[in-house]
């Protein structure tokens, strides 16, 4: 059995106090919901792909993506020269008890 790969270095908010839930995405304004839904389907996207999808110049798309990173809705990782963005989905809930506690039921 292989171990799951560790997460990659990211910029932007990452953690339980940031990120976005699916219900948040559902209630966003149309244009933002459209973008984040598309990004969820794609998994990880580059600036060029976003620009192409939105039919916008990269110069317009970059600050928009960086603002979403700042807001904790998406995260970015640097791969060589390229910045790749993905939606930062929230944990369903915070874990408050030992992860082993439920084994008493098994």
């Amino acid at each position: 059995m292989s171990e799951p790969t560790s997460d990659f270095p990211v910029q932007g908010n990452d953690g339980e106090d940031s990120s976005i839930s699916m219900i948040d995405i559902f209630t966003l304004p149309d244009s933002l919901r459209h973008l984040l839904s598309w990004m969820l389907r794609k998994g990880e996207v580059t600036v060029q792909e976003v620009a192409q999808h939105l039919k916008q110049e990269e110069s317009i798309v970059i600050p928009m993506l960086e603002e979403l990173v700042e807001d904790g809705m998406i995260r970015v990782r640097q791969v060589g020269e390229e910045r790749r963005y993905r939606v930062l989905l929230a944990h369903k809930s915070n874990r408050r008890v030992s992860k082993d506690i439920w084994s008493v039921l098994d």
Binding site: M1, S2, P4, M22, I25, K92, R95, L105
Partner: protein, 254 residues
């Protein structure tokens, strides 16, 4: 490019898992590589149709979601179920079951899990298993996980019974799916009494939701008798019900 097919219903008991197993198996019989992920973590069940019980499930989706293993390690090759039916070359079916252990289910209910990890897992499965189709058997109703499944679907297949509660709930789900821009939606009516006029029902439902009805499954005594012990269309490939399943599968693959 692989297609993600979410099979969903607003209410429980619509025959969602049975339909998923049957349609996915039919798609696999057409020579495709198919996986089914049981994301109904709170009340898993589809494993039963492939002959699994809690003793046989060594690794489950839960293990992946809690970081104990890679998601591909939780995939079981269940293609042997296809061995008694004519299957085109290359047809494979994998199952990613959810845990049946009470403690694991309780943990999900109490703590939830990382929904983003679920999305990553789907992509990993598509790549590692070289899938043509990934079927997601969802939990009924709308919540974080089902919204994710709906959002990332290439095809959303909604199962409903000819029942007013199902009709209303399906209307809500169709609205949600439209808002989330799901590229293709299909409806399947299940457990319809044979005394109904199926053509009139199809017409009326299609008009109401403006979504194609991929098939109407009559309430079947043979299906009830099988009691989820096997995949119906593989056991009775020439049964009229299997023909409906074939038709739905064709529309999924179209």
């Amino acid at each position: 490019m692989a297609k993600i097919v979410s099979v969903h219903s607003f209410r429980g008991g619509t025959g969602k898992s049975n339909s998923t197993a049957n349609i996915a198996s039919t798609v696999a019989r057409h020579g495709h590589r198919v996986a089914i992920v049981d994301t109904d973590i709170q009340s898993p069940g589809i494993h039963v149709l492939f002959g699994f019980d809690d003793e046989k499930i060594e690794r489950s989706l839960n293990d992946y979601l809690w970081g104990r293993c890679a998601i591909s390690d939780t995939a079981y090759d269940v293609s042997q179920v296809l061995s008694h039916s004519p299957t085109q070359a290359g047809g494979k079916i994998f199952l990613i079951p959810s845990s049946l252990k009470a403690g694991e289910i309780a943990r999900v209910l109490r703590e939830g899990y990382d929904v983003g990890l679920l999305n990553d897992g789907f992509q990993e499965l598509i790549e590692n298993l070289q899938l043509d189709y990934l079927f997601i058997d969802t939990h009924p109703g709308l919540n974080e996980e089902t919204l994710l499944s709906i959002t990332i679907s290439d095809i959303l297949l909604l199962i409903l019974r000819p029942d007013r509660q199902d009709f209303q709930g399906t209307a809500v789900t169709v609205d949600v799916a439209r808002k989330l821009e799901v590229p293709k939606m299909l409806l399947m009516i299940n457990k319809a009494l044979t005394s109904y006029d199926f053509d009139a029902m199809r017409e009326s439902v299609q008009q109401t939701y403006n979504v194609p009805v991929a098939g109407i499954m009559p309430l079947s005594e043979e299906m009830i008798q099988l009691a989820s012990s096997e995949v119906f269309c593989l056991r009775y490939p020439d049964h009229p019900l299997s023909k409906v399943i074939e038709s739905v599968a064709q529309q999924v693959m179209a």
